[in-house]
Subunit: 312 residues, 4 copies
């Protein structure tokens, strides 16, 4: 199969939020605005239906629609990666086929997340799954949600199949990220991408290829700027931009309780910024009420925003 | 909505394994044999698509088929409970509607298992879901797979809606089970059912209503016997039958490593006993190889089985 | 070495709270009153320096004093078990020697709780420790605090040494308790004791030997009554007493947040009941303030107490 | 109290292994050799009785001796930090007083590790403990062993007391490390030190002050080199040294199973390198047998070592 992107995939590939009107209705107008906002912001790819995209909370009809609409709006301007994480191998393959039909460039897969697998079972699962997928594959490590972490040696085993072209790590464990990088050092084409935006700078400084950073939905320039600064080894700029990234992380993502603060805060901020119309969050979560929304508004006001853009 | 069973639902309601030929193909002949085996064994209901039934590993097409075929074969002889656990509320409702259309008696729901919810979010989720379901609802506690446990007060809050008619607990935490029983003592119609067969005896002795016990796929008479003995307060019989139950638990379910030993061992034993044709286990798991199968065979030989039945 | 109790040890062996004036000062007067209260209540042994006794929070000087004073006050009336759980094998042996010198009947040991050991390391540790101890040994399973659970096969291996005479399980996992019982069925002298009082009834009904129940500090008669009823197979009495046990569990132990609610609530109730003078809880915990104390008082008022005794 | 080091404390402060002859006997000759090896290697401080130093496995007598001997051998050449982590506040204070009497420069404290505290309890505990300590205090985050992680806001609250001068994070969670740095940015004198050597480079590049890296016991020059390179912003050198650090991490620390591989591997390598006489590991762990020792020897042979030094 053809690789529609230069390997390894590099840069900032935002995990798009899925703009919704309700549990069943994709807000296409907002999706169009979001994608144009991201492309204008200089991002290097579009990653849809990840954790930030609430894949698991959406019906399959909406998942399919999200793939179709994203590819339609994108018109081939950027590589599109579609997350196909599922507990059912059949449904994973179905989603991957839809993605290929729509012109996506790759698929992303976290381990099955109901049954926790042992490492040999995990390797065997991917050895069965990958050859049935029509696109390049990125593995996705998300142990807090999935309960299982890829052992570095398991990644190495799965990636014997050259169709496996990269890895996204959302564990926040930087020792682990370094261990996977070290294990995969014989594969210079293998993309090492990090989820949490708070550590994209350091991961890229140490040789990582980029970030799948949720905050880029709001301020793509900031995270693209961080990627460029880190890639260029411009440490003063890395430190300067890191302050904004941490200010956002510690204010926008920490309102409310529970693990859902990040997602609710991000969608709420996007709706205040006018990027999406409504901050509806799919069940089992619920968007913020007025008091939390007010806190998000205040957090945004403390940022140097003009015309919806962060003035760096 | 009408309750097709006397409340509270009592007895042994086995969580049926899903007989498969491969990841996409239900083995209907084996399903017919299994259901007749269970009904002949005196069980009080059929619970399909639970953890033992590998719901999450199956495609939606096979889930739908499993509901349809079970209801067709059952012909109304026993209450059928269909598990509708999903990460997407829309897909949960879809499955429940299929179950109602096919004549199932109730649905069973564990919390969404990708995002971990806080207790208020969990209560709110069920307050949104339950009214959209066409059948009586059993809540299902499965923290090892779902990451979230229902707080007793959350169950009490959700069960303000009388459509919620029971609870299945697979936590193995007997203090927790007692706490839920105590919290729900104002609802004598609320069924308290326990997952692990190793503690069905003690839970029923203390006032629980029955067990959703995987071992009943193999030897329904044993678990029905335990239920009857415990309900009658026949302690010597409880202790006698408990020995068999523990022998099975400690031999059939502990071959191999990883959390999948139970499922692989159960399906392997069922195939040796001739109840199902093949012990195919859906991805991400894989059936036992010859050495493990031999251990299961030996474990079965140490049990007093004649013509596929345990001679109690 | 001589066994000062008939094997297996049976009945209710309360885990004594440690009455304190401050972090460094044992309240000996309260300890005397507590022990007389327990002996009058019919308990079958005294278990000191367990989790309820705050062993780990106490200085070694106070631990030593607690052993000495308990043995002095007890005057040989009941078997005394001293907990010697430590992260240092040397300090464990030191405590055991003190216990033997003071006339204790046995020692209790949970695994080292800083480094988490694998099962072979755990077995090897006890094979090294036990022969250096001067008294019969009970193993103590407390995974929530210790991070490690004894595999049933590890218990069986350790108990090849006949000096190991019993097991206390505080996991609340009743499947696990049954598994250990089944694994140890070739050792009829091996005491199977359960920590959580909410399940003493069912554990004894199923063949367990008794409970190490914190609530017995307050109401020894209740838990002794439960033990006797369960041992006699008197199910109606078990169910009647279980109501009181659950009422206490759900009211006294659930005030406040965090895992410390049980300990704070128990000591607070004991001070209101006049069994101990002050409910000082050692660092890192702190006794309840007035509002929580008032809730405990109200919870006690809802119980049928006369002259400090529960009227059963 | 006087600060014997310039704030914030910077550089590589190795967590010394504790050389032992058996569970009760400190190997003073090896300790002398180790300390001279470290000082010759250019480290910036000595951190004793941490997790790598097996504090919890040692008797109090040996802990005291380790403090005394280290301070004696050091003769004031480097700041000495003594870990006083304990479950008993009294024993923590005792150790701190010994450290002060011997001339140590500071103490390090992880939360009590038997009872898991909530965040308010944790803050209150340190507000009680710190004023009773005679030396500057570093907080120590070690959630895998301690079960509790300091919330960034808890650190900020505790550090209102200026006696609290730094933080060591062994969580490996780089997002967390960044969050604490951001929360503490109003305290430029507050040392931010990282435990895992695999991420010292990136943490220092992003503004951290240094590393408490176990590997520095073996090859102090390597980690000092990494610190200097990162502090100077010399990215090519950081990347070059990172290769050695990862080679060590992935070969020396991963022999054997269980969480003890790191400690066993480190002590084994030190004994092969001749820095310590014997690789005795205190109970509940045990040193490697011959096959594992051979693997460590081979791993060392793949490193460019001459005369016990890594040729960088």
């Amino acid at each position: 199969m053809e690789n529609k992107f230069k390997s390894p995939l590099c840069g900032i590939i935002p995990p798009l939020v899925t703009p919704l009107k309700d549990n069943e209705t994709l807000d296409i107008e907002s999706l169009e605005r979001l994608i144009e906002h991201l492309i204008a912001g200089g991002v290097h790819g579009l990653f849809i239906l990840g954790t930030t995209g609430e894949e698991q909370s959406l019906s399959y009809r909406v998942r399919k629609q999200m793939i179709e609409e994203t590819c339609r709006i994108n018109q081939g301007r950027l590589p599109v990666l579609a997350c196909i994480t599922d507990t059912s191998i059949i449904e994973s393959i179905n989603l991957a086929n839809i993605a290929a039909d729509c012109g996506a460039s790759g698929v992303v897969s976290a381990p099955p997340y109901y049954f926790a697998t042992g490492q040999p079972e995990l390797a065997q699962f991917y050895e069965e799954l990958v050859p049935q997928l029509p696109l390049p594959v990125f593995l996705y490590n998300m142990p807090s949600h999935v309960k299982v972490s890829f052992a570095p040696s398991t990644i190495h085993r799965i990636a014997q199949n050259q169709q496996v072209v990269g890895f996204k790590d959302s564990s926040a464990n930087a020792v682990y990220f370094q261990s996977v990088m070290h294990t995969m050092k014989d594969r210079p084409d293998f993309a090492m991408l990090v989820g949490p935006e708070e550590i994209t700078g350091e991961c890229v400084l140490l040789g990582g290829h980029g970030g799948i950073n949720g905050g880029a939905n709001m301020f793509p320039e900031l995270y693209v700027g961080m990627y460029n600064a880190a890639k260029a080894g411009n440490l003063p700029e890395v430190l300067r931009l890191q302050q904004y990234i941490m200010q956002i992380s510690s204010s926008i993502y920490t309102v409310g309780q529970h693990g859902s603060s990040y997602l609710k805060g991000l969608k709420c901020a996007l709706s205040i910024l006018g990027v999406i119309n409504d901050d509806f969050v799919a069940s089992p979560f619920y968007k913020f009420h007025a008091p939390e929304r007010e806190k998000i508004r205040q957090a945004l006001e403390r940022l140097p925003i003009e015309n919806g853009k962060l003035i760096l």
